[in-house]
Symmetry: C2
Subunit: 342 residues, 2 copies
């Protein structure tokens, strides 16, 4: 198959490897169903820092450090670092990662940033521009509430469609090949890059409804570009649509004649016991898909239990300024094909 596939997809001739990954999460995630799978659960959500933003920076630092350790690589082995978060001007990433001294590309795709960082990392390695690169993303419940919603002390009520921003960071080391004696986790064999999709939704407390159309278009485009059916994947995994967004996604794709219901999973649904933990429709944030991919899904590919997944982090492109000015909330999604090593 050629490298350029359809409109916006790539199929890598030499698929880059995910050499290692790491997930670092907060207390609430550590009380959820994936507790045993995360690499590190913080003792409290401040991670030893004075501010929520510095706490989020610590999450990223910790995640990258663990991922590098697992791959037996040093920061100076990384030729590029692709990273981002939800905060204005990406302060969690710039302050969290500056000490690693790796040439840096800052990315913003809202909660889809994990997908954006993996796509650009894979493109960079597959092109021969780097032997090793790192991709890091994060979100923090408290820094996100402060950025996008209300002060925590205000204790606002949350509608059922609202999602709960995950406190967590996921880091991934990609490379042309593993170091001698090391076994890679999986390979990124292709990507589909999303367009900005705006169905005119203005409800910032219903991110699932905002992002589901972007996910539906991305998945439809991906299957068309690659000439595949949903059953060609062990799972099609969206980032953080939650229960409300999942229903919309499945409906939208059914209208196009595609039924993904039997293979669809959503990181926002699996990361919490949403009923018991009071997390509404599900988890959200860049950290949601990043930590769940690292802790829960990559091991299934590494063990050979699964052969191929389509990982689709989803993002809602709003700021408080655009929201307060009455703008709609556009969505975006990025698709990453991850396969067990050949």
């Amino acid at each position: 198959m050629e490298q350029q596939v359809g409109s916006g997809s790539l199929c890598f001739k030499e698929a880059p490897f995910i050499l290692s990954s790491a997930s670092v999460v907060g207390t609430k995630e550590g009380e959820g169903p994936l507790a045993d799978e995360f690499d590190c659960i913080g003792a409290d959500d401040k991670f030893g820092q004075d501010t929520w933003e510095a706490a989020e920076s610590s999450l990223q630092q910790e995640a990258l450090t663990i991922a590098l350790g697992k791959a037996k690589l040093a920061p100076e082995d990384m030729r590029y670092l692709f990273a981002g978060d939800l905060l204005g001007q990406l302060i969690a990433s710039s302050f969290g990662l500056k000490s690693f001294q790796i040439p840096f590309f800052g990315l913003y795709g809202a909660c889809s940033t994990c997908g954006e960082s993996l796509a650009l990392s894979a493109m960079t390695v597959a092109a021969g521009y780097a032997d090793f690169v790192a991709a890091v993303t994060s979100s923090h419940f408290a820094s996100a509430e402060k950025q996008f919603r209300f002060p925590l002390e205000y204790a606002n009520q949350r509608p059922v469609a609202a999602t709960w921003t995950v406190t967590g960071s996921g880091a991934f080391i990609l490379g042309k090949k593993a170091k001698e004696g090391q076994t890679p986790l999986a390979q990124i064999t292709g990507i589909t890059t999303g367009k900005i999709v705006d169905y005119g939704v203005k409800d910032s407390m219903n991110m699932g409804a905002v992002m589901a159309p972007a996910a539906a278009e991305l998945i439809g485009q991906h299957l068309a570009d690659f000439g595949r059916k949903p059953k060609d994947y062990d799972a099609i995994i969206t980032g953080d649509l939650g229960k409300v967004g999942r229903e919309i996604l499945i409906d939208l794709l059914l209208k196009q004649g595609t039924d993904i219901s039997s293979v669809h999973e959503d990181c926002g649904i699996v990361i919490y016991d949403n009923e018991a933990q009071g997390t509404g429709s599900g988890g959200s944030g860049c950290g949601c898909s990043a930590t769940t991919l690292s802790a829960h899904y990559l091991p299934k590919l590494a063990s050979g239990e699964w052969k191929r997944i389509l990982f689709v982090p989803t993002g809602a492109l709003l700021s408080t300024v655009s929201f307060n000015e009455g703008e709609s909330i556009p969505g975006i999604a990025h698709g990453i094909v991850i396969e067990a090593c050949a």
Copy 2:
């Protein structure tokens, strides 16, 4: 020369072409020394919109439309779009560019974003991932003042070291080759990607001092990676250091034994008549380097007057949150080698 050069530089075996570019600016820029060189000067700084943010989105829309027209290409010819701006969550870009329906990578590198977008665009084309891509960046004086400083109505005093955010957007179309009958402007032959550099400066009214160390490290690294001297360039052009930052940059490099004073130019210095226009140390913002490259420097390469420049947009990685929490302001710079077509 090999593709990977030194630590973080790339030299492209098949250098991508800059097929066309466009610059759209506001009224103040239209009263400055480059007035005759811009493609479009707005009649007022609202660009027909109700808000400053929507005005900035219009700038991007207009710039990309003009650049596409010059290259005789349509939005659907673009395989990817790399774009960013200074606003929280990149709202100028997402709202400005969503209607083009091009697979989208959102970028944030503060005022260095023009360099980041050109670097990733060039990497993408050189790798064969796309025949055509677009890179768009912008800033707007009024949306930036609202985001980072004070309401305009407050009419705060500005220290002499302060810079003036450029109202403008620059768009660039890159491709493997020009359409038949079209002549490309220049070629991107290499890049050097910057690390985050933090000298501990905390003065948000002196961005030149924040960014000069990042520019100095980038230029030093670049010359070492490529084994070149400053005189190998017709000009080494920083993004928006202004007069204050320029002095620091030249001093820092002199201490390393490198004298760039005779070939150094700064977009922030050339875009305004800083004394007459009251723009302090100079222009700044993603739009400063993007519009100046398009309007003022690319024509010198296209005409053959110049052979090779090193274009170094510079960024200050702060938000009001990080600043108010007492954090320092890290800087970053991205280096792009642009040459007259062979």
